[in-house]
């Protein structure tokens, strides 16, 4: 999960550099990269960079852009506040268009592109749906590195709380206690999500970074709780 996220964020950094360098022209003049022509029939490709697109000439699905902006891909404003229903609608409509099931009879190259698109859309959906990954992604887009350094006594009350929940989770399984912890984690995550929303809205990225680090501890506890609840 972390590795995947890091990888994702790495890609994001790249996307940022590209998009900030210069807005992409809509019409492409001579001497433009060859990537802007259809791989199948060679027709020039109009339309939005970074979104799944089909050749206007032969209808072949084009390869995904290497590092697209996930907010743009999912048709969301670049903001921490998102409309989950709209995100889900967009996710479904994109998957309907590019899902590999639709490309069973197409050339292998196009099947491969559809797999790439489909997996990218899954990742984009998950990244934007989950408040923690969405927040970290926004930080990355703003050039803010996520918290790396050790958290020390500065916030020992918080760390003690996390330690105590971990200790409770490590005890022999007790349904009542697990339920209690589950509720607690949910409440904390909701509170933090609200605070992160406010921090992003007043453009306080350092505060957002601090709050997201706290969310990470609770996300970690949530994973442990889930593992514990699954009967082995």
């Amino acid at each position: 999960m972390q590795a995947a996220l890091r990888q994702r964020l790495g890609r994001v950094r790249w996307a940022l550099r590209v998009s900030e360098a210069a807005p992409r022209p809509r019409c492409v003049g001579p001497g433009s990269p060859a990537a802007l022509r259809c791989w199948s029939c060679g027709s020039p490709l109009p339309g939005a960079e970074g979104l799944p697109r089909f050749c206007p000439g032969c209808r072949a699905l084009q390869p995904p852009a290497p590092r697209p902006d996930l907010f743009r891909l999912m048709d969301c404003d670049r903001s921490f506040r998102i409309d989950a229903q709209q995100l889900q609608r967009r996710f479904r409509s994109l998957q309907r268009a590019v899902h590999p099931d639709r490309f069973g009879r197409r050339p292998p190259k196009e099947q491969y592109y559809s797999e790439q698109h489909s997996s990218l859309i899954n990742k984009a959906y998950q990244t934007l749906l989950n408040p923690l990954s969405r927040g970290l992604y926004l930080l990355e887009l703003s050039g803010v590195e996520p918290a790396q350094e050790t958290d020390c006594d500065a916030d020992s009350v918080f760390l003690t709380e996390i330690m105590e929940i971990n200790e409770k989770l490590a005890e022999p399984k007790n349904e009542d206690i697990l339920e209690e912890i589950e509720t607690l984690i949910k409440v904390k995550q909701e509170e933090l999500t609200k605070e992160v929303t406010a921090a992003f809205e007043r453009d306080d990225l350092q505060e957002a970074k601090k709050l997201l680090a706290k969310m990470k501890y609770f996300a970690n506890l949530e994973d442990k709780l889930k593992n514990k609840k699954i009967p082995s």
Partner: protein
């Protein structure tokens, strides 16, 4: 039994999909993980016990390390409790072994690179040894603060000011 082993193996795997999972842990890490030294707690309120509580915001791991110091300034006991991956557990287990018998000042010289080297941690797991070093430092700082109430007072004043 087989199920138990499988569960153990799953626990040993750090963040799913990390490079370490493919490479596997070094046998020293596995040894500390399976037979952790000095797990537990000391009396947090005792004057000669220093407690360090640290966390890694990147992965959500938490580590508590405690030292008990005798009147000559020598660490006579150490305990840890870590909720994290195998490397974090091994790093803190090793840290408690290393600080025992050392003076406070000697223990302050333990570097995360020494821990990482001893456990043969791969680069992606270096931060786990860093966490252990920070936990030692935090525990010793807490001990020192307890020994010097004047300093504590002045710091409290400074914080309140």
């Amino acid at each position: 039994m087989a199920a138990l082993r499988a569960a153990g193996a799953a626990l040993l795997r750090p963040g799913r999909g990390e490079a370490v999972a493919r490479l596997g842990y070094h046998k020293k890490v596995v040894d500390h993980y399976e037979n952790p030294r000095n797990v537990g707690s000391l009396d947090r309120n005792a004057k000669n016990v220093g407690t360090g509580l640290v966390g890694a915001p990147a992965c959500g791991d938490v580590m508590k390390l405690q030292v008990e110091v005798d009147e000559n300034g020598r660490i006579v006991d150490a305990r840890f409790k870590t909720f994290g991956c195998g490397s974090a557990i091994a790093s803190s287990s090793l840290a408690t072994e290393w600080v025992k018998g050392k003076t406070v000042d000697e223990a302050l010289k333990i570097k995360n690179t020494d821990i990482a080297k001893e456990l043969c941690l791969p680069p992606v797991k270096l931060h786990c040894s860093m966490l252990a070093e920070d936990a030692i430092k935090a525990a010793l700082a807490d001990y020192k603060l307890k020994q010097d109430p004047n300093k504590e007072e002045s710091e409290k004043k400074a914080n309140n000011a």
